[in-house]
């Protein structure tokens, strides 16, 4: 029981950082992926992209989904990982 607890705790400790939300890139902008790559990815997800703005190390996306509902998200400009807070790049 005790061993199981320690193993679980250790497993969580190790996997924890990997599960944490992505944040905006701190790399120079030369490392950023082009907007078009992100746009293609979003189109493939069924979104209609209205605008992509570079804000800090994040791309902020203004889009609508298939039901024409607005979708506001941000992606790490380097990895194109989704960032939890759509305004993350503005801080």
């Amino acid at each position: 029981m005790y061993r199981a607890f320690v193993i679980t705790a250790l497993a969580l400790l190790i996997s924890g950082p990997a599960m944490a939300d992505a944040s905006c890139s701190k790399a120079p902008s030369s490392k950023f992926q082009p907007k078009t790559t992100l746009e293609e990815k979003l189109k493939a997800e069924g979104l209609t992209v209205r605008q992509i703005k570079l804000e800090g190390g994040c791309y902020e996306v203004y889009a609508v989904d298939k039901d024409k509902k607005k979708v506001n998200t941000a992606y790490n400009a380097e990895t194109l990982e989704k960032v939890a807070n759509a305004e993350a790049g503005e801080d």
Binding site: R50, Q51, Y62, A63, V64, K70, N72, E90
Partner: protein, 198 residues
Amino acid sequence: MPRPARTERGLPAPADAHRSTATMRVWDPLVRIFHWSLVTSFAVAWLSRHGSELLHDGAGYLAAGLVLVRVLWGTLGTPYARFSQFVRGPQTVLRYLRAILGGREARHIGHNPAGGAMALVLMAGMAATALTGWMMTTDAWFGVAWVQTVHGLIAQGMLLLVALHVGGVALACLRHRENLVAAMITGRKRKAAAGDVA
């Protein structure tokens, strides 16, 4: 202990007074509350433009509501609150602006023609800023670049207009030797003298 008399309001001015200190009621409470609430909501919206969305949007809705109420009050309100009292045609406004340049503009108890025009433009600008801001939250206009651009441009224009408004008020204060900021708080202004427009 009795408190000292707070004010000489309504008492006749001493006969030897160079300038009468008698005042009259001009701006009703709704006009004054509207004015300072609009100042606050614009300031909050401006300062939170990159910050809290809740605060920014809330200030925008408040500003829109305030303008709506003021427009209704402009037709139903007390005499000096009514548009018919202070809205003048462009020619009258231009003539007044020229008179200011010549240093011979009359003191008005209500808004002077230039001030009235400014009040209208500020209200229209505030309404337009609030409208485009609201559009940005809707599915139909969300993320549409021109709406964002127009919203930002009108807001910046508002800042410029506010500066002009404050400058105009300061000038009128100096020219007519009265504190118009205090008048917008107390609602009272010095009674009309000869040459003033009541």
